[in-house]
Subunit: 151 residues, 2 copies
């Protein structure tokens, strides 16, 4: 259980955008968007969501926690795979509805549940008027099937 | 009006995650999350949202378009300020509910509506058990008040 709590977001735009109070604007589901990049080279690793508890635990422990929308549960990233994310820097945006984590990943240095380093392993293009995806060739760094197999 | 359309997302996890079909998983509001970084140095510039029309226009024109949730309208970023975003590369993530744009910004090289280069100009920390924000000192690159004043 986290000790940190967050005051309600100010309705004063200037306070929200220029102030020193951390007052995240959680959405109707109680979540903010979290963008996660590698602190070493800036690679975008994943996009996830945090509720107040996950955000507080991340600040308190320095290890990234999220809210899993698919499992409807608090999610300490890396608990199954060992690929924990150590937070080097945390930022928020002008209207405080998004969080940016710059992290160092332990374990296999892999963030995606497919075993790849990043979730963003496909580029978007178009061919003959149809949007298409192309894999960038990045290979799994661990065996996801074994790692996530239900015990 | 964009010509590109997107097929419904596959319920087959493997097709969604490993396939070449671009089938974004728009949420209940018809939106995907868009993460925007500077193609030159990887700085996170903003987090926004796209509906199918904005995504299609971005692919077709190479200039970033979004859906403004506050104005409830299609939003060609830079129309007021001249700070257009030219897309160098577009990626999507494993489950296709997020888009990553690597861009070059024209005009003042500023993305935030406050006039700053990035929306993420404050770091998050804690002092005496309270979460706090610290400005990173980045200054406005254009006069936002003049630029966005209602005509």
């Amino acid at each position: 259980m986290a000790a940190l709590t967050f005051p309600q977001a100010s309705s004063d735009k200037r306070a929200l955008e220029e102030g020193e109070a951390c007052t995240p604007r959680f959405d109707a589901n109680g979540l903010v968007t979290a963008v996660v990049t590698d602190a070493a080279d800036g690679m975008l690793l994943m996009v996830a969501h945090m509720n107040a508890e996950a955000l507080a635990l991340t600040i308190e422990t320095g290890i990234a926690h999220y809210w899993s929308r698919s499992r409807n549960a608090l999610w300490k990233k890396g608990e199954s795979s060992g690929n924990f994310q150590h937070v080097v820097e945390m930022r928020t945006d002008c209207d405080q509805d998004a969080i940016w984590l710059r992290v160092n990943v332990t374990g296999h240095d892999a963030t995606c549940h497919t075993g790849r380093r990043s979730c963003f392993y496909r580029t978007v293009g178009q061919q003959n008027g149809v949007a298409t995806l192309s894999a960038d060739g990045s290979a799994p760094l661990f065996n996801a099937e074994d790692t996530y197999r239900k015990k």
